[in-house]
Symmetry: C2
Subunit: 327 residues, 2 copies
């Protein structure tokens, strides 16, 4: 961390690289560092060739550039909240043009860059917490804007402190941010109270259509093109829907099916505690982890739903048999 | 706090009084103290004559009694998260039978008991934080169960750290709870992932029927008896619905109308920042505060909706006129 702080402090022109599909952790961490660098009188930008989600725009202000030639040769190119070239593939060429390379990340696979100064701490719940450490190590004066941006990074990556990655150090970092002028209510309003009505309507249509299966231990929701047309929402706005499905008492496994095209159904599966959704995803050549898996089914939404439903119910039958045998 | 800790430590039989309509803060704070007292080998109960909400039952375990005669004369009766007799009216007689009286609360109007040892700190976001201080002052060993119960108190009363009452000390208290074995993910699962499917369905029907008014600056939702019948939900399960309405970008004022009976419509109004909903509630003899107000309209749901809609739109017209004049 000391080496990284020295490198950043000694660089006069800095390009920051958040990952593709920028989230609150990437945007907040980049925003805080970019503000710090500009306050030091340096030239700094966040290099991004995608649209920033509306609720995150306050974090990156006018820091964004999509011009790969904003610097002839950037003094420092730094990957933030991502640790491999594949996480920002369309911007690799510019990244590698940096005179020096760096990386700050909290993902397991972080730090996959040659000749880069990397600080990667997978035990940290967010890159925002690591960015706070970096700013302190750099000796910069942390402003209320930076405190807000780092809070945004932390609250989004921990599911508002609910996910299992949240821990003692997370709350200690937030407590410290108040000393620098954090206005958490303002940040939460920007981040969480910025939904499109169309998205809420689509979620409502989907939940109204939800089916409980496996005796209430699982639920399944299909978002069809018809629902998008009826609500005016877009398919990416299904974000958060599976989390709502999981809030129902007794539900162990949730399945969300998205009709991307009449014969292209994207499936997301989540388990709460004992469920193993990777086994279920294998039934249709999907992949993932034990608690979060998915895949694509090239059938109609009705056929896909029947297939997933069947795989889930079979998994519970097998699970019950195994439990019986153990007794 | 020292005096209160000494009083609790010197009492052999203790009855705890949460307020009516027990919430997470009352349940978690009572649960933690009751566990501490029993671990000290004392007789302690939470006296409550209402059904405890399903998602809070893990906090009060077998501590609840509805028997006013569980003690002939309770050594200590202590109001928790409430500061006046009116907050647990049906249990006043038993409370006043206590040999000694006490109160731990964070409400503005706390400590309204004669001859009671009261610790009231309105600047605290939750009674849970004060209960942590009390347990530390009492010198008890804080167990993982107590840590979980206090976390439940804090997360629920701060809206998962989003409300404006949350602050530095709130996060410092949570950081400390990890030292005592807090499992926040387990608590969040119990508290937040314990919804009835019927409730979610009702919220969906209501949101699908939501009307945006005043050029998108307000929204209005009616929950009818038909929606309850269609979803299987009960009217009290509208809890949280107005918060969802508020998450829509650009919405300043939200109005929720509940059809309790064909000619009895309960109205809830919320404003985010500059809106003044008390003025709007006055249009139908309601009351409340600037940012949260309501009342009852004795008309049909259709008439009530027209009335509220009109009052909201008129408020925005008046607000715009006033703003114009200021310029």
């Amino acid at each position: 961390m000391k080496e990284l702080a020295q490198l950043v402090n000694s660089s006069d022109s800095v390009l920051l690289f958040p990952h593709s599909k920028m989230d609150g952790d990437a945007a907040g961490s980049c925003g805080a560092l970019c503000a710090a660098l500009r306050n030091q009188g340096k030239k700094a930008y966040i290099f991004c060739d995608e649209v920033v989600p509306a609720n995150l725009q306050f974090l990156v202000k006018d820091f964004i550039t999509d011009d790969p030639d904003v610097f002839d040769v950037p003094g420092l190119c730094m990957a933030v909240d991502c640790g491999e070239l594949g996480r920002f593939a369309s911007r690799n060429e510019t990244f590698l043009r940096g005179n020096r390379l760096a990386c700050l990340d909290h993902h397991e696979n972080g730090g996959q860059f040659e000749d880069a100064v990397c600080y990667v701490e997978p035990s940290s719940a967010s890159t925002g917490e690591l960015m706070l450490q970096l700013l302190l190590e750099m000796g910069v004066e942390i402003t209320p804007f930076m405190a807000d941006a780092l809070y945004a990074a932390i609250t989004t990556d921990t599911g508002d402190f609910r996910f299992s990655n949240s821990k003692k150090e997370t709350h200690e970092a937030v407590a410290m941010l108040y000393d620098f002028g954090l206005d958490h209510a303002k940040v939460c309003n920007e981040i969480y109270d910025n939904e499109r009505m169309e998205k809420l309507r689509m979620h409502s249509l989907a939940i109204a259509d939800m089916e409980m299966i496996a005796g209430g231990k699982a639920n399944i929701v299909c978002v069809t093109q018809n629902m998008l047309a009826e609500s005016g929402a877009e398919m990416w706005e299904t974000e958060g829907l599976i989390d709502t499905m999981r809030t129902i008492a007794g539900v162990e496994i949730s399945a969300l099916l998205k009709e991307d095209a009449p014969d292209k159904i994207k499936v997301s599966l989540r388990a709460k505690s004992y469920g193993e959704v990777l086994t279920i995803a294998n039934a249709f050549d999907g992949g993932g982890h034990k608690k979060a898996a998915g895949g694509t089914i090239r059938k109609s939404i009705g056929e896909a739903k029947a297939l997933v439903k069947d795989a889930i119910e079979q998994w519970f039958v097998a699970y019950d048999v195994q439990k019986q045998e153990e007794i």
